[in-house]
Amino acid sequence: MRPTQEQLLRSVRESLSDVVIPNVDDSWARYVAKGMEKILLHLEQRAAHEHEFLVRDTIELRALFTALASDEGLAAAGSFIPLAADLRDTLDQPALAEGDPPDALALLEENERHRALLVDVINVVEARDADTALAAVRESVRAMVRDELERDLELARPTFMLFGPPSTKAAAK
């Protein structure tokens, strides 16, 4: 079998880390090379997980939107009316994520359309923070946002850059 994308990316990254970077004397050039190393790590993660994550994310978003579209508390919120129509329109369209394996770019675009709709949902339900009828909806939306973030972190973590140790006390809060 020919080498996979992941294997080739790893090969490039390890050559960069083990051979090139130790021999770069210029500090700026070394900083750039280390940036390349991090992005290659990120690409390895994407090659391994992105397709699966996008499919799962879009399917979970559609399940959330289906529940929201029939939520009585949300339906009673005046500002929800235009959003309800957007939810129905989105759900009426068949999702690539639910069909045959689609092309990666189309899958990404579809997922981002769903995420944009989630942003609209957040803006409506969080603006009515005092509305107890929406408490359950808010909780399910917030849980979805955290789940999405966890998937994103799997891909983005190799690129993390810190410019100072974050306060451990604050982070533990």
Partner: protein, 329 residues
């Protein structure tokens, strides 16, 4: 940066220094908002020498959405006040002068901003001393008569109260919205929290340094001699600076209680812990708003260099995770 081009430029600016010759130009590794170069030059046949700092917009514009001239004006306003900053020399709009721009030149303050030196083994006494000085200097920033310094001429002035946070929040939200390459539900969640919880109890409208942390001040012979990185400064709640400082680990110099004690003793401004907690999340959101838009520069026809990709990915997701944790989600 070609030494010949820099020599030509500096000769034009400093005609009284005969035979001026640039002897070195080194790009500083670290802060990515703009290019920073240390430039050395000598004159009088090499018998006299000086070094200056060049701050230059990247070829495709600045990373932080604040004009470079804003930073120059902050240095102009603060130099000579109780807040120590490098002296600004010249602001140049003309890109042809050095082949890149706009740019400005300022004094190169001798010393180091290196956290490595500060955290080296055996530097406990230095860390304590620098920590106490830092707390006192932060108080000096916050007690500065910013009106007298002319800062109110070019910074928006919020009303005392929630507007101190909300004015700034809206500025960063706008920047994200204008350069957003993908929808960010986490950012929407953080914004909702920040909008809802903006502190009402604000001691004073103060000059806020904005980008506070270890690495953003210069120390020499155990003394802090200059505060740097003013491009995100604004007028608002002084507690935001404490959040920024703690976010970047200033309490690794001294326990936060000691830092707060010194700040309150020297400035007279009470520390508001609830506000600091709020602003810790604000800092996360602000970093998302300043760094994620960098990815907008990747298009079908043009891509910036890889350091921009690293910055645009490496900061926002870290901060989104930290911010969500801070608000208990």
């Amino acid at each position: 940066m070609e030494p010949e081009v820099l020599t030509e430029y500096l000769r034009g600016r400093l005609p009284a220094r005969p035979d001026l010759q640039v002897t070195g130009a080194k790009r500083v590794v670290g802060g990515m908002s703009r290019e920073t170069w240390f430039v050395d030059f000598e004159w009088n046949g090499g018998t006299e020498s000086e070094s200056v700092t060049f701050r230059i917009d990247h070829e495709k514009g600045a990373v932080v959405p604040v004009p470079l001239e804003f930073e120059f004006r902050v240095h102009q306003a603060l130099h000579g006040t109780q807040v120590p900053v490098a002296e600004p020399y010249w602001f140049e709009h003309d890109k042809t002068l050095i082949g890149q721009g706009p740019f400005y030149v300022r004094e190169l303050v001798e010393g180091t901003a290196s956290p490595k030196y500060l955290y080296a083994e055996g530097q406990e006494a230095l860390r304590e001393s620098v920590g106490l000085q830092f707390a006192e200097l932060l108080g000096k920033v916050h007690t500065l008569d910013w009106n007298a310094a002319g800062v109110g001429d070019f910074m928006e002035v919020p009303e005392l109260g929630p507007e101190c946070a909300l004015l700034e929040l809206r500025r960063w939200q706008r920047n994200l919205a204008e350069h957003q390459s993908e929808p960010l539900p986490v950012a929407a969640q953080l914004f909702a929290y920040l909008e809802r919880e903006a502190p009402t109890d604000v001691e004073r409208v103060a000059l806020v340094w904005g980008d506070v942390g270890i690495g953003n001040f210069i120390f020499r012979n155990d003394n802090i001699v200059a505060l740097t990185d003013w491009e995100q400064s604004h007028l608002g709640d002084p507690m935001k600076d404490w959040a920024s400082a703690l976010w970047r680990g200033v309490d690794n110099l001294l326990p936060r209680e000691k830092l707060f004690e010194e700040y309150e003793r020297t400035s007279g401004i009470p520390v508001n812990l609830a506000s600091i907690d709020y602003y810790l999340t604000f800092i996360d959101a602000e970093y998302v708003c300043t760094s994620h838009p960098i990815l907008d520069r990747f298009t079908n026809t043009e891509v910036p260099d890889v350091t921009f990709a690293r910055l645009g990915m490496g900061i926002p997701w870290y901060c989104m995770d930290h911010g969500m944790t801070m608000i208990g989600l």
